[in-house]
């Protein structure tokens, strides 16, 4: 491993300082550690080195060596290589480390590499007995996140159709990751785990977010508020479940003489709303509109003849 690391340090030092793209042949002849005699041995070694650096996230790029774009060479642009200094204090680094241990992405706490780059520090402590997992699709998420921060066009498949969108932001709510993006001028939310084949296209800075855009407001916070319909449901909750309804409702509800509640609830997604209301069993009733009443009753009657 020692010789591999020496070779990689030499290669990086060279590519960071040449200031011009250099061909594989020039690298082979110039950088210490490469095989001069055997073409095939060199080629394999150089491929492995490139993969390793790129997997680490080092921007090893190919650019034309001349204006005619006949030949291409390698370069590591220094401004893209270097991490801008956020100026973190030791205390702030420790707080970041701790939060990354407590709140996990895809079931795994983050490794120490990111913190090392930010200047290391005391990476110990198990944290509070609070833990949260932000879900599974860490690989797709990283691709989407990069497109969001670079403001590149994002392509992906969603509900059987190929999409090309301006990715405005990434939002985690109620256990799911959403991409908020503009597709053909319309801003909407896509559930990341329902899409596939995410990839960024074209160059950075492809779009600007509209003035006053706030990601937090781009997705309703309750599931039945996200949809196409525009209904107002009137629901009666019995006294036994009033505490539970009150905990979950966005709108204020009117307390009844018997301790129950009557609530007027804005419903944009009837299926989500009816599903939620069934958790109250027979302790809640949709008073109106009839459309929602019958949607609930259809579900309840649904399989009773099976």
């Amino acid at each position: 491993m020692k010789r591999v690391i020496e070779r990689l340090l030499n290669l990086l030092a060279f590519l960071l300082t040449t200031g011009r793209p250099v061909s594989a042949e020039e690298i082979r002849m110039t950088v210490a550690g490469y095989d001069h005699d055997n073409d095939e041995a060199f080629r394999r070694m150089f491929e492995r080195d490139k993969d390793l650096l790129r997997n680490m996230g080092i921007p090893l790029e190919m650019r034309p060596t001349d204006a005619w774009e006949v030949e291409f060479g390698y370069v590591v642009p220094r401004d893209e290589y270097e991490l801008p200094d956020p100026g973190l204090t030791d205390e702030e680094r420790a707080a970041l480390w701790l939060s990354a241990q407590v709140v996990r992405l895809g079931g795994q706490p983050s490794g120490p590499e990111a913190l090392l780059k930010l200047g290391g520090g005391a990476m110990s402590g198990a944290g509070e007995p609070l833990a949260a997992d932000l879900g599974q699709s860490a690989t797709s998420l990283a691709v989407v996140f990069q497109a969001v921060t670079d403001r590149k066009v994002l392509a992906f498949d969603y509900r059987g159709r190929a999409r090309r969108v301006y990715p405005y932001g990434l939002l985690h709510r109620r256990g799911h990751w959403y991409l908020v993006a503009a597709e053909g001028g319309e801003v909407r939310a896509y559930r990341i785990d329902r899409g596939s084949k995410y990839s960024a296209e074209g160059s950075a800075g492809a779009f600007e977010r509209p003035a006053g855009f706030r990601l937090r407001d781009a997705l309703p916070s309750l599931p039945w508020q996200a949809g196409e319909e525009d209904l107002e449901a009137v629901v009666r909750f019995d006294p036994e479940v009033a505490w539970w309804a009150r905990r979950q409702l966005a709108e204020p509800a009117i307390e009844q003489p018997d301790g129950g509640l009557e609530a007027r609830i804005h419903v944009a997604n009837p299926a989500a709303f009816v599903g939620w209301l069934l958790a109250f069993e027979d302790r809640a009733e949709i008073i109106g509109p009839d459309l929602l009443r019958s949607q609930l009753l259809d579900l309840v009657r649904g399989g009773s003849d099976e």
Binding site: E6, L9, N10, L12, A13, L16, T17, T30, V31, A32, N55, M56, R78, E80, E82, L83, P84, E92, A95, A100, E113, A114, L116, G119, G120, A122, M123, E128, L130, A131, A132, D133, L134, A142, V143, F145, Q146, V148, T149, L170, L171, H172, R173, G175, R209, R214, L215, E240, V241, G275, A279, E281, D282, E285, D298, L299, V300, G302, G303, S304
Partner: protein, 309 residues
């Protein structure tokens, strides 16, 4: 990440820091970058023989220890660490903003996330927002039970029979996953390990009984841990109901790619009954006498309520 990549990352992080903090002590560098003294010396010796083409005395980097001070020089091109990968940046920002959204975070974390985001050229309000399920009020008292190793008494009201029940639980951890908050612990009433959804608990009260927490508490996750007295049901899920297998702790019995058969287990048959009702035509009860009865009972009660007017 390979061992080589890890070692290279550490070198490319340590070198810039030492350049910016000339004369830092061996102990400080070791603690900061998780080195043993021997590992640090090995890496410095390695840096010492690398540099720019020519590879003569004026081309190689300088790296050594003198009087317990770490010196690195002639390495201007490595004066900054390399950028975070998207996954690393996302991991730090997402976990930071998640914690901030629970109002449990110290102020220093907010500063840290703010500084990191602006160094990465990100406006947190525009690019990434993480709302952990709004922390239910009970989380605070449950967490206190965990920290102080005190038994908590939980109160439930079962909707079907309308009766109030109590449980004594030794709380191990409070956590949030898939949008819900959970309490895991040993349920003294049931005599076994249990996971409870916090939003279904009506009241929680600290008792003055203490308990010895397990030496290694199981990881905070919703696992499939059926016990003797649980009610089990075999359920077939259609394509549109596959989310159930992710959302609830279940055992997957078979999976054709479209249809999926699961075993569902809960302390009360009404849990599976409510789920089946809600899924409608997207799910089918394959086996489970008690669940079947609970489902029929549920249908009857709801229909009765809606027809009584």
């Amino acid at each position: 990440m390979s061992k080589t990549a890890k070692r290279l990352t550490r070198i490319l992080s340590m070198v810039p820091w030492v350049i910016a903090h000339q004369g830092a002590s061996v102990g400080d560098v070791c603690e900061r970058f998780g080195y043993t003294e021997r590992e640090l010396l090995e890496d410095l010796n390695l840096v010492f023989v690398c540099g720019l083409p020519g590879y003569g005395p004026g081309d190689l980097m300088v790296a050594y220890v003198e009087n317990d001070e770490v010196i690195v020089d002639m390495a201007e091109y490595f004066s900054r660490p390399f950028r975070l990968t998207p996954a690393e940046a996302l991991g730090l920002l997402a976990s930071g903003s998640a914690l901030i959204s629970t109002s449990q975070a110290p102020e220093v974390l907010e500063q840290a996330v703010g500084k990191l985001a602006s160094a990465l050229g990100i406006d947190p309000d525009e690019a990434i927002v993480v709302d952990l399920a709004g922390e239910p009020p009970l989380v605070r008292v449950l967490r206190q039970g965990v920290t102080e190793s005190r038994v908590v008494e939980l109160t439930y009201t079962s909707l079907g029979k309308g009766e109030t029940r109590h449980r004594l639980v030794e709380p191990w951890s409070v956590f949030s996953t898939l949008g819900n908050w959970y309490l895991s612990g040993f349920c003294r009433t049931a005599g076994g390990e249990r996971v409870f959804r916090v939003d279904r608990i009506q009241h929680a009260q600290l008792t003055d009984q203490s308990f010895a927490p397990p030496l290694e508490p199981p990881p905070p996750e919703v696992r499939y841990t059926p016990s003797e007295d649980d009610v089990r049901a075999t359920i077939e899920l259609g394509e549109r109901a596959r989310w159930v297998a992710e959302y609830y702790p279940v055992e997957v019995l078979s999976d054709s790619g479209s249809e999926m058969v699961i075993e569902f287990s809960a302390g009360d048959a009404s849990v599976a009954a409510r789920l089946l009702l809600r899924l409608g035509a997207d799910a089918r009860l394959v086996a489970g006498v008690e669940t079947e009865a609970a489902l029929q009972d549920l249908r009857t009660r709801i229909l009765a309520r809606y027809q009584s007017q």
